[in-house]
């Protein structure tokens, strides 16, 4: 997957090159991290738990967007529209047919795949900016369709959804949600990593590099593009379905253009072209407004600016995004790698060759 980082460790077989984890130290760290994740809900308070759930929820969509934009190189500004598609599929099926979780989740995925196909079709002819614009247009169309449903059916403030139930047990405990979302997020993560090290992921990276060369290498460019869109959109729609259940509420207001921008910001801030980046970026984007709020109350500004907290958030968010774009295009992952390299090379300071 990546370059070997430990001394005395050499890859001698192809399996080593494909392995998700290289060394024993990495495995040990991962195990420790997993234990920490599992123990988290029993230690954390209600607020921290909600934050963690938000991070996990958003990480699914961010990883999906990273597959599409970071690896396959297709811009999408419409991922909030896909979340909306998943959420509204769930909401509509629940309201109109009383469908259970086991029906709405696969239907959301199916709708996501279908929309992915529709989103993807313009990509066969369009590139770069034009593609970004077509996804942006689709975002507006999908959200408008949801809004139309709301007004037509008289749910003008939004569609209420009961929490999913298994047998007689109703899932409304945040701790239970934490584990469900954690499982979903980890499943997405493993699925994506697995795709990326296989044939599909290599094809995506090839079309990102240069389409003509990819085609010359025997890659079906159309199929690769469409598969990137379908996979990414399906995952995002599933995230939308989970979002609907977690909030217990679907409304077109929740899927504004700002949400789409947040997702794009997450992968930019995290670092394009890295799954770790998608996760780091998600953590950053979710925690950022709360950080701003804490900072404001620490400065004693919160009373004076309490009515415009969201404006401060907007401004600060835009500023941070600009700073990352200008000064750290590699994102948080770039910083993380530099820190790693510093420790690896210590006491020497030169940059590693080829970076």
């Amino acid at each position: 997957m990546s370059t070997p980082r430990a001394s005395g460790y050499f890859r001698t077989r192809y399996e080593h090159d494909q392995a998700l984890l290289d060394t024993r130290a990495q495995k040990a760290w991962l195990a420790a991290f997993c234990i920490a994740l599992a123990a988290f809900p029993f230690v954390a308070g209600a607020f921290a738990l909600d934050l963690a759930n938000q991070v996990l929820l958003m990480s699914i969509g961010a990883i999906a967007l990273m597959l599409l934009t970071g690896y396959a190189g297709q811009i999408s500004l419409g991922h909030a529209g896909l979340l909306a598609a998943g959420a509204f599929t769930t909401g509509i099926l629940f309201k109109e047919a009383g469908a259970s979780f086991w029906v709405t989740l696969p239907s959301s995925a199916a709708v996501g795949a279908l929309i992915g196909l529709v989103f993807g079709l313009p990509s066969l002819r369009l590139r770069g900016l034009y593609l970004a614009m077509s996804t942006l247009a689709l975002h507006f169309l999908v959200v408008q369709a949801g809004q139309e449903y709301e007004t037509r059916r008289g749910h003008s403030t939004g569609v209420l959804i009961d929490p999913p139930s298994l047998g007689g047990w109703v899932m409304n405990d945040p701790r239970a949600w934490y584990f469900v979302l954690l499982a979903a997020s980890i499943a997405t993560l493993l699925f994506s990593l697995n795709l990326l090290r296989g044939r599909t992921g290599r094809a995506w990276r090839a079309i990102h590099g240069r389409e003509a060369v990819a085609a010359a290498l025997g890659i079906d460019v159309r199929a690769a593009k469409l598969s990137a869109f379908v996979v990414s959109c399906t995952l995002t729609a599933v995230a939308g379905c989970l979002f609907a259940y977690y909030r217990g509420f679907v409304s077109a207001e929740a899927f504004s253009l700002f949400v789409a921008i947040q997702y794009v910001a997450a992968i930019i801030i995290g670092g394009i072209g890295s799954i770790l980046g998608a996760v780091l970026g998600t953590v950053f984007v979710v925690l950022f407004p709360y950080g701003i709020e804490a900072l404001m109350s620490a400065l004693g500004l919160s009373e004076r600016l309490s009515s415009v907290v969201f404006a401060v958030n907007y401004a600060a968010f835009g500023l941070v995004m600009i700073l990352f774009l200008v000064f750290e295009p590699q994102g948080l992952v770039g910083i993380w790698r530099r820190v790693q390299a510093w420790f690896l090379l210590w006491p020497f300071k030169q940059k590693p060759v080829g970076k």
């Binding site: 770069g128 970004a132 507006f140 389409e211 794009v264 415009v308 401060v312 401004a315």
Partner: protein
């Protein structure tokens, strides 16, 4: 008749905004998604100068126009010049980020209340009758102003030194730079002019309907007009504005007023499927991410 007048006013709005998108795209191949916010900033600029120079509205208008031009130069000088030569995605995202930043900053600076700069200038928005249809005074000025701006831009781009430099830089930046054209100067001028025209559109809309958050949406809805006509053609922007405005007004009239926000994007998608480079645009190979 009333329908035709409505279409004309809306088309003038879209055309005036769209020429900003076209100017920036044509010269620097960057799409500015902060245009709606810059427009709104222009409108707030007018409100601010109107209260500053209370009593002489003409000075206020001139001051706000200069302000809009200066903001455009500032945007390029502080942010966008760093994005020259970066990937398309990075530049577009930078403008998106700038848009969010501006939106937050404007709420902080000016509040969320709807403002009416026309009243602050001390004028009233009279309604004028033309052959059985009614048009507001600001709407009439808008149509005239758009015609004026387009005429001036055509003259500027084809007859003046700086206009020819701008077209050269848009056609081939490398060759233009080798001929001694200062690209940063040309790009900054494009941003300045685009913000100026956008700011004018913002001011005129604000005079007609007041400054609200929907101004940004109008800015975004004008983008399809630019694309339908072809992102690098001014004439195209004019034609595209008519098409989009016509479709929007007719659908509001005969189908469903709720659809008004999506009609332009529907037109955009249709155009992208049929002829992605627009009616008058040049067919080009676009960059990857």
């Amino acid at each position: 008749m009333q329908l035709a007048v409505n279409i004309a006013v809306l088309a003038a709005i879209y055309a005036l905004i769209a020429c900003g998108y076209v100017l920036i795209y044509r010269v620097s191949r960057v799409l500015s998604l902060a245009h709606g916010e810059l427009m709104m900033l222009g409108a707030y600029g007018l409100a601010a100068t109107a209260s500053l120079f209370a009593g002489n509205p003409l000075v206020a208008i001139a001051a706000s126009a200069v302000l809009a031009l200066a903001v455009g130069f500032l945007v390029y000088g502080l942010l966008m010049w760093r994005m020259t030569g970066e990937s398309v995605l990075a530049a577009v995202l930078a403008t998106i980020a700038l848009g969010i930043l501006l939106r937050g900053a404007m709420i902080l600076a000016f509040g969320t209340q709807t403002q009416y700069p026309l009243q602050q200038l001390g004028w009233a928005n009279a309604s004028i009758a033309i052959g059985g249809a009614r048009i507001s005074g600001a709407g009439l000025v808008l149509v005239a102003g758009t015609a004026l701006v387009y005429g001036a831009l055509f003259l500027f781009l084809h007859a003046s030194r700086w206009g020819i430099r701008m077209r050269a830089a848009g056609q081939n930046p490398l060759l233009a730079a080798q001929r001694g054209i200062r690209l940063h100067g040309v790009y900054a001028l494009a941003w300045g002019l685009a913000t100026f025209t956008g700011g004018m559109a913002g001011m005129l809309i604000a005079c007609d309907a007041g400054i609200e958050a929907t101004l940004v949406t109008i800015g975004l809805k004008a983008f399809p007009a630019a694309l339908v006509g072809g992102l690098d053609s001014l004439l195209g922007a004019l034609v595209g504005a008519w098409i989009v405005a016509g479709a929007e007004v007719l659908i509001i009239q005969y189908v469903d007023p709720l659809l008004s926000d999506v009609v332009p994007f529907f037109v955009l998608l249709a155009m992208l499927v049929i002829r992605p480079w627009g009616l008058f645009g040049t067919c080009e190979e676009l960059d990857r991410v």
